[in-house]
């Protein structure tokens, strides 16, 4: 089934050689995405699955099929690195690291997900510091 994902011009402009996406993910994460046998355990346990356009298992399938639209999915940004999927994967794939690799591919092209100016003064004063530091670490390159 083909899903409709958001489309971002800058992200669409990222180029890969044939099979380059999987190779880059593997280089960044150290995980072999081809080991995934699509059981869906990661998606079943993911606390953010309701708000994702692709399940984590689907995102991995996209990488295997060399479909770089996966970089447009909100899945990679919804993942908050809670490691639940990594802990449960029967193939012992660290999916958390795979998601981080996909985020990094985008961030390293200087495409930021978070716009700092949009955060209001009141929020800056009430939200705990560690939330900001982690958000910026995850969403700004």
């Amino acid at each position: 089934m083909k899903k409709k994902l958001e489309s971002n011009k800058e992200i669409n402009a990222i180029k890969f050689k044939k099979g380059g996406l999987a190779a880059e993910v593997q280089e960044l994460s150290g995980e072999n995405v081809f080991a995934c046998y699509q059981c869906g355990t990661c998606s079943a346990g993911c606390p953010f699955i309701d708000d994702m356009d692709l399940g984590p298992d689907e995102a991995i399938r996209y990488v295997i099929l060399d479909r770089k639209e996966v970089l447009n999915s909100n899945t990679i940004w919804m993942c908050a690195s809670c490691y639940t999927c990594a802990e449960r994967c029967p193939r012992d794939l660290n999916i958390t690291k795979i998601m981080e690799a996909l985020r990094q591919i985008v961030l390293r092209k200087k495409i930021d997900r978070t716009k700092v100016v949009k955060i209001s003064k009141k929020e800056k004063e009430t939200i705990p510091q560690l939330a900001f530091v982690s958000l910026f670490r995850k969403n700004i390159g």
């Binding site: 908050a80 809670c82 990594a86 802990e87 958390t96 929020e123 705990p128 670490r137």
Partner: protein
């Protein structure tokens, strides 16, 4: 020295001096966690001092293999622990604990990475890899012992039903976990020692929404609602947790969820240190309950625990 040998010494009444790494949030929005932890250490007859020259740990561990840069900040703090002649450091924040442990593990397992990082830092001593990072909960379990705490309880938390909530950072990834990833017991063991009734719940290991609390408040409120509803359906009066971010997300964002879901009421959230302090009969003032969105004082008064 093995863990049980250390315990043996401590049971004999040895005073432990601990070095403590605070992190940003403990000095700002979670001062009540820090204050209550210090009070407990004192009440147990030990000593805890803040380490010199610490810096932010970076909050989240670097997860890409080629990224060493983000291991610098935690490593620098570990070096300063060695500089003070210590080989152990205690953290209160779950995220600091996780990040420091992950960096420690990476440089211990990859001597080449450690060499690169040591060479990069001009003004710091080389890291020798001697530091052990401990979460305060781990310290209470392994080196003080919940049985010792139990003996010192003056005001048992009788008739209060509490659900333990662990979140992610204490339990995952497994290399740095302080308990089992799927079926942790450390908080329930502590609650039992304090005399409270434990309400078990499958949501205790689920993510609270973490940093999405900045950009996606409603998502986090929904998560707080889901986690709390499960707890209240099983009769819980309150929740206990350890992470400052989980506390904000469940307490404050949970309170905001009252506007999104009809007849939903957020239950109070405690730090485990606050519950220990209350049970040990310490002054409730040190718990800083005023900083909570849902003030737990009312519950404690209703249950006639502490508080005159």
């Amino acid at each position: 020295m093995k863990r049980h040998e250390k315990r043996y010494l401590n049971v004999l009444g040895e005073i432990m001096k601990l070095l403590y790494y605070p992190g940003c949030t403990l000095k700002t929005s979670a001062t009540n966690l820090e204050k209550s932890a210090f009070a407990i250490v004192e009440a147990l007859g030990h000593e805890m001092v803040e380490m010199e020259d610490w810096n932010c740990c970076g909050v989240v561990a670097s997860l890409t293999d080629d990224d060493l840069m983000h291991h610098l900040a935690p490593l620098r703090s570990l070096i300063h622990v060695e500089d003070q002649g210590e080989n152990k450091v205690i953290t209160l924040c779950d995220m600091c604990c996780n990040t420091l442990k992950q960096t420690n593990l990476r440089v211990k397992e990859n001597p080449d990475d450690l060499e690169t990082l040591n060479l990069f830092m001009d003004r710091e001593n080389d890291y020798k890899g001697t530091v052990e990072v401990l979460h305060f909960l781990e310290f209470l379990r392994d080196e003080v012992g919940f049985d010792v705490i139990k003996k010192k309880v003056k005001k048992p938390l009788k008739d209060i039903k509490i659900m333990p909530y662990y979140g992610c950072m204490l339990l995952r990834p497994r290399e740095v976990a302080i308990d089992d990833a799927e079926e942790p017991t450390i908080l329930s063991d502590l609650l039992s020692a304090l005399g409270a009734e434990v309400v078990d719940n499958p949501f205790k290991i689920e993510c609270c929404g973490s940093y999405h609390t900045v950009e996606n408040k409603e998502l986090v409120s929904k998560r707080a609602h889901r986690i709390t509803t499960f707890a209240t359906e099983r009769g819980a009066d309150a929740m206990v947790l350890s992470c400052p971010l989980c506390k904000f997300n469940i307490d404050t964002r949970g309170k905001e969820a009252e506007k999104m879901f009809e007849s939903y009421k957020q239950i109070p959230v405690f730090y485990y240190t606050q519950l220990i302090a209350i049970a040990l009969g310490l002054d409730p003032e040190i718990c800083g309950f005023d900083d909570h969105a849902v003030n737990p004082i009312i519950l404690l008064k209703n249950k006639e625990v502490a508080l005159e």
